[in-house]
């Protein structure tokens, strides 16, 4: 790639460069880090970066890998937190997952859907309370009524 004068500031030169601390929004994540050695045409004066057609494909592939890695890490920590308050098998039943699915996620043998990761994050924030709520909601749905509030003693 040829070096050229920065079309944004008119002062610096644009050339492919790596860098620390660069991130992009991607899907529902506000900022996903990209590797320091990932080369993006960048102005040496204003720091503006430019993305052409070929680089866009490469960058999307890179961000997708980072995204899947993030989902995998989040899912593992969420399952570990929830597991202290609900057996994994019961959690699978409550979430409508097949038996053993959470183990596959924990071991990195399956890629989780963002929807499931979102649900697990919500449950992991307060596993005792939220798993209890989920149990009550399913019980109430089965009987056609509204879920009863948790009793203070339980």
């Amino acid at each position: 790639m040829k070096t050229f004068v920065c079309p944004a500031c008119g002062k610096g030169k644009v050339a492919p460069r790596g860098g620390k601390g660069r991130s992009f929004p991607y899907k529902q994540v506000p900022a996903l880090d990209i590797d320091d050695d990932f080369q993006i045409p960048t102005c040496d004066a204003c720091g503006e970066m430019f993305i052409g057609a070929a680089l866009a494909k490469k960058l999307d592939a890179h961000l997708e890998r980072q995204y899947q890695r993030l989902l995998g890490n989040v899912v593992k920590s969420a399952i570990a937190r929830i597991a202290t308050h609900a057996p994994q098998q019961e959690l699978e039943q409550l979430l409508g997952l097949s038996h053993g699915y959470l183990s596959k996620l924990r071991n990195g043998r399956k890629d989780p859907s963002p929807t499931l990761v979102g649900e697990l994050m919500m449950l992991a924030e307060n596993p005792r309370k939220r798993v209890g709520e989920l149990r009550r909601h399913w019980a109430a749905a089965a009987s056609g009524g509204a879920p009863k509030a948790a009793s203070s003693g339980s």
Binding site: P7, G10, F24, I51, A56
Partner: protein, 143 residues
């Protein structure tokens, strides 16, 4: 006589349609990606292609002349203010309420000619176009 775009709009459209364009990251990628249905870099490029394809000469607002160092002339930015069509908003945007957009672009010749889309975001302030009409941010129009 009203000011006209420095870079012929027909050439801008042809280059962008042929995928010969770059997006600036700060004001033409990161700022809008979270508001798109397809929240990927390819999604932003698809949106930019659609916006530029629907630009008209009446959308042109003004030029910005950016002096180059050592008196080597200017880089000329063309600024447009456009109202997106219903089709474009529904196809690309999450929520179709923001319909008035700001576009700033230039053409750079470095080997081949390429369009650089430097800004692409919804209008933040009213902007007067070269034909004398004013386009306002959507939230102001709804006040």
């Amino acid at each position: 006589m009203p000011e006209a775009p420095w870079h012929p709009l027909s050439e801008v459209k042809a280059l962008v349609a042929a995928d010969k364009f770059d997006l600036a990251v700060t004001s033409a990628t990161k700022r809008i990606l979270p508001h798109l249905l397809d929240r990927t870099i390819e999604g932003v490029r698809g949106f930019a292609r659609a916006v530029i394809a629907q630009l008209r000469l009446v959308d042109f607002a003004h030029r910005v002349n950016l002096p180059r160092p050592l008196r080597k002339g200017f880089i000329v930015h063309d600024v447009y203010a456009t109202r997106l069509t219903k089709t474009v908003t529904e196809m690309h945007l999450e929520g179709s309420q923001k319909t008035t957009w700001y576009v700033k672009l230039t053409i750079v010749t470095s080997g081949s000619r390429r369009v650089f889309v430097l800004s692409l975001h919804c209008l933040m302030d009213p902007i007067r176009r070269a034909d004398g009409t004013t386009l306002s941010p959507t939230w102001k129009e709804n006040e």
